[in-house]
């Protein structure tokens, strides 16, 4: 009952946000009903379109599920972008090094490599926080920048497609990666690939981890009360690093899926983070908030946001309105969700636990 109500709040917030969106449409002289129809049609109007929406939602879901893990340990992970990039790079390198490995081995291998890359990129701010009291909100954001520059450096140098060098165009992208590493389609002929399933399983896994395992128990204990956790003998510092590493590993997995689920099967950038990630590292946070920071609710929430993102292109095309409108709509949803009471109490709890954590990390 309470759970149902908990779900109703963000939905209500979304409705209000849509109402605001409609007003904006009217303001630019467009028909909101037509706009909504175009948006929905583009998002879920046909099989292939649904597939596109689901594929688009996949990285959001992975990042979002990771956010919920970090959040339960009262750690804030804004480093999704960097962790996606780190995961993508490591998995790309693996695929380049082992092009002839059969798919049955290579696909799992590149996914693991992605998770590993993201985990390392998450563990760094985790360790900085645990052992040097560096605020992880700052360090994760900084590491996003570092990851992007590192990506540009590698894609322009060591990893660049030899053809680009030959032709002198020097677009920062890798060569086509081994076909063996391509994520298999779930339905033959469809764009729907294994990554979507992996993401859903990862979200369920996050739930199981948090509420069914001793490890998750420790993370939640640290998240609720670092003082009590410490007195009970739970290693607070290690738990912080673990939470960020796990959170990062899911983002890293998203990075691998972005590379090996793409039609080009290569890693390509325009020099910015969003050029590769499509801002999934940030949109995933929104999806997690919209899902009440619960890994299972993050599943429908991510699909909704995926639909909103793909639908926005339809809206833009049908009504000839600027793309910025879709971004604004997104922002309005975020504002309403974050200001809803339930999410607010969650965030307040987070703030309390965090100030306590500061104390714990300070002494011994």
């Amino acid at each position: 009952m309470q759970r149902l109500f908990g779900a109703a709040v963000p939905l209500l917030a979304a409705l209000v946000a849509f109402a605001c969106g409609a007003i904006m449409l009217v303001a630019v002289g467009a028909d909101p009903v037509e706009g909504l129809r175009a948006l929905v049609d583009q998002a879920v109007g046909s099989g292939p379109r649904i597939a596109t929406t689901l594929v688009r939602a996949t990285p959001l879901l992975l990042v979002g599920a990771g956010i919920t893990i970090a959040f339960r340990a009262s750690v804030v992970n804004i480093g999704g972008e960097g962790q996606i990039v780190a995961g993508a790079l490591l998995s790309t390198i693996v695929a380049i090094q082992l092009p002839n490995l059969p798919g049955i081995l290579l696909v799992p291998l590149v996914l693991i490599a992605g998770a590993l890359g993201g985990a390392v990129w998450g563990a760094i701010p985790g360790a900085l926080k645990a052992y040097a009291s560096v605020n992880e909100i700052l360090s994760t954001i900084m590491l996003n920048l570092v990851a992007v520059q590192f990506m540009n450096f590698l894609l322009r140098g060591w990893l660049i497609d030899p053809l680009e060098v030959e032709r002198g165009t020097r677009i920062p992208q890798t060569a086509r990666l081994s076909e063996n590493a391509t994520l298999p389609a779930l339905i033959p002929g469809s764009r729907l690939h294994l990554g979507v399933l992996v993401a859903v399983l990862a979200a369920i896994g996050a739930y199981v981890l948090l509420w069914r395992t001793p490890l998750g128990f420790r993370l939640r204990a640290v998240g609720h009360s670092p003082e009590a956790a410490k007195a009970a003998g739970i290693p607070v510092k290690k738990s912080i690093v673990t939470a960020l590493a796990l959170s990062g590993s899911l983002s890293g997995l998203a990075g691998a899926i972005l590379v090996f689920g793409s039609e080009s099967v290569r890693m390509v950038t325009d020099g910015s983070a969003a050029g590769f990630t499509g801002s999934a590292g940030f949109n995933g946070i929104v999806a997690a908030l919209f899902g009440g920071l619960h890994p299972l609710w993050t599943i429908p929430s991510s699909f909704l946001f995926g639909g909103l993102l793909t639908g926005a292109t339809g809206l833009q095309r049908a009504l000839q309105v600027p793309a910025a409108l879709a971004v604004a709509l997104n922002g309005i949803v975020v504002i309403f969700v974050v200001s809803s009471a339930k999410v607010r109490t969650r965030l307040d709890q987070l703030a309390n636990a965090r100030s306590e954590m500061k104390e714990v990390l300070k002494d011994a």
Binding site: P214, S225, K230, A231
Partner: protein, 508 residues
């Protein structure tokens, strides 16, 4: 004892007040004379606050009448009560944090310079009251800057400023440190001696014995006793409160003292502000022995406990060993594995997680053991069996194992912590303030559990500010003063006076 006990100011006759499903006051009689402290004593939920809210016009009783100075009066609202010279210090303070002391005192009063408030006049009034009763407060400081004790003083001033003659204090000591309690009692005695009538509400026996002129005991809404400190003692009061014989000091069978289990030598620890908090302490506790640590709070007790538990670093040269194993370099986890268990002083901060369920708090320490998990996954069936067993063994009153722990009473939360900490038959237990703020019934239970574990060979350190608790539980008593052990005395023959002197740093 008050000398100038005067005429009856207040008489409450046969007051009955019902709430849906609860008879909060059942035909209660209560009266207050000028110049006395009349205590209302009772466990949580006995109906003390309800009776006083009836007096203050917050509730209308179903039956009964109130006489003020002999005149039957129907008190319709708090304003009415204040006009009748009744003042009330609620359990939760009613001050506006962003306003100054003077502004809070003036709030809701008519001023001589209407519609403007004359804060200068108010400040002068406050200064007069402050002088008369030693209630030192700066009228011009914002409330949020004040400590809890100071806020309470502002509440008292507020009531006195409104010319209260009858003052009700609802559990005023619950939020205070022991020193603040002493200060408050001095103020209350002054007020009593100047002829005011005071109602003091508490469930702490030693405070009640120290301050009261008369005592009325409530249980489940009924008066179960009316007495005075002279005619009564703590255990009589306790039985009236609980409704059965209560053992304030547990039965302690003679047991053979075994080998040393906890050995501490030359332990020095820094406090939070850097200064030395524990200074070269040597202690040894043997199997089957309870060592009581007495001392005025803030003399190194907390740091001592935390250092043994591995939550605070020790200075070099300190050694701590459990069953002969040196644990000084170990973290808390490893010390617990070596046989240590720990009941922290701050129950809700360090002892339990309020947002966790009862079951989760019961496995907070042992959640990773093979008993509760296999291949990284919890075995919920085993956890449930274990936790239901503990809940019934320790008589924890909870609707279910899934209930959020913060919704339980302090006594039940403490039982959960104790159940968890004793579950593994530890070799050494550090128990800090094990029964502070806990109902008498629960305290009795906790004491008997600690003694049982001692009888089975546990070495126990009980740190308490309550000398009666230390004298009742301990086999030997170490007195801490300024971070040093003043003396260690056997409990036989130890007196409060002797301990009090040691606590004050006087060595005989």
């Amino acid at each position: 004892m008050a000398t100038n006990t005067g005429e009856v100011m207040l008489e409450m006759r046969n007051i009955t007040k019902r709430f849906p499903g609860v008879l909060a006051n059942d035909s209660v009689n209560f009266d207050v004379r000028a110049g006395e402290v009349h205590t209302l004593l009772g466990e949580n939920g006995a109906g003390k606050s309800t009776l006083m809210k009836v007096l203050f016009g917050l509730y209308q009783p179903e039956e009964g009448e109130i006489l003020l100075n002999g005149t039957p009066t129907k008190i319709t609202s708090p304003t009415h009560a204040i006009n009748q010279r009744i003042g009330m210090i609620h359990q939760h303070f009613m001050l506006v944090p962003t306003l100054t002391v003077a502004e809070n005192v003036a709030l809701g009063l008519k001023s001589g310079r209407r519609p403007l408030t004359d804060l200068k006049a108010v400040a002068r009034g406050i200064a007069d009251i402050s002088d008369e009763y030693g209630l030192a407060v700066d009228p011009n400081v914002d409330i949020w800057r004040l400590s809890v004790g100071e806020r309470q003083r502002v509440e008292i001033i507020k009531a006195l400023y409104r010319k209260a003659e009858l003052l009700v204090l609802d559990e005023p000591t619950a939020v205070l440190t022991p020193q603040e309690v002493d200060e408050l009692f001095a103020i209350l005695r002054d007020m009593r001696n100047s002829g005011k009538g005071l109602v003091f509400i508490s469930h702490k026996l030693h405070e009640v014995m120290a301050l009261s002129d008369r005592i009325t005991v409530l249980r489940n809404g009924k008066v179960t006793g009316a007495t005075t400190p002279a005619e009564s003692d703590r255990s009589k009061l306790a039985s009236m409160m609980v409704g059965r014989e209560v053992k304030l000091a547990p039965d302690k069978p003679l047991v053979e003292i075994g080998k040393p289990r906890l050995t501490i030598s030359n332990l020095s620890v820094d406090g939070d502000r850097g200064a030395v908090a524990v200074d070269g302490v040597d202690l040894e506790i043997r199997a089957g022995e309870i060592l009581g640590i007495a001392g005025v709070s803030g003399n190194g007790q907390r740091e001592l406990a935390e250092a043994i538990a591995g939550l605070r670093s020790v200075k070099s040269g300190s050694t701590i060993s459990i069953d002969g194993k040196d644990v000084a370099g170990m973290d808390t986890r490893d010390r617990r594995n070596a046989g240590l268990s720990y009941v922290p002083e701050e129950r809700m901060r360090d002892g339990a997680i309020g947002d966790f369920t009862v079951a989760e708090n019961l496995i907070l320490v042992d959640h990773g053991s093979d008993e509760f998990s296999a291949r990284g996954m919890f075995k919920f069936a085993e956890i449930e069996t274990h936790c239901s067993q503990l809940v019934s063994d320790y008589a924890v009153k909870t609707p279910s194992l899934e209930t959020p722990t913060s919704s339980l009473s302090g006594g039940n939360i403490q039982k959960i912590i104790l159940a968890r900490e004793l579950a593994n038959e530890p070799s050494v237990m550090i128990a800090s303030q094990p029964t502070r703020g806990v109902d008498i019934g629960a305290a009795e239970y906790i004491h008997s559990r600690l003694v049982d574990a001692r009888d089975r060979g546990m070495a126990t350190m009980v740190i308490s500010e309550d000398l009666d608790e230390v004298l009742g539980l301990a086999d030997r008593i170490a007195v801490l003063c300024d971070g040093k052990v003043m003396d260690i005395v056997p409990v036989e023959g130890a007196t409060k006076e002797q301990l009090g002197l040691l606590m004050a740093g006087v060595k005989s």
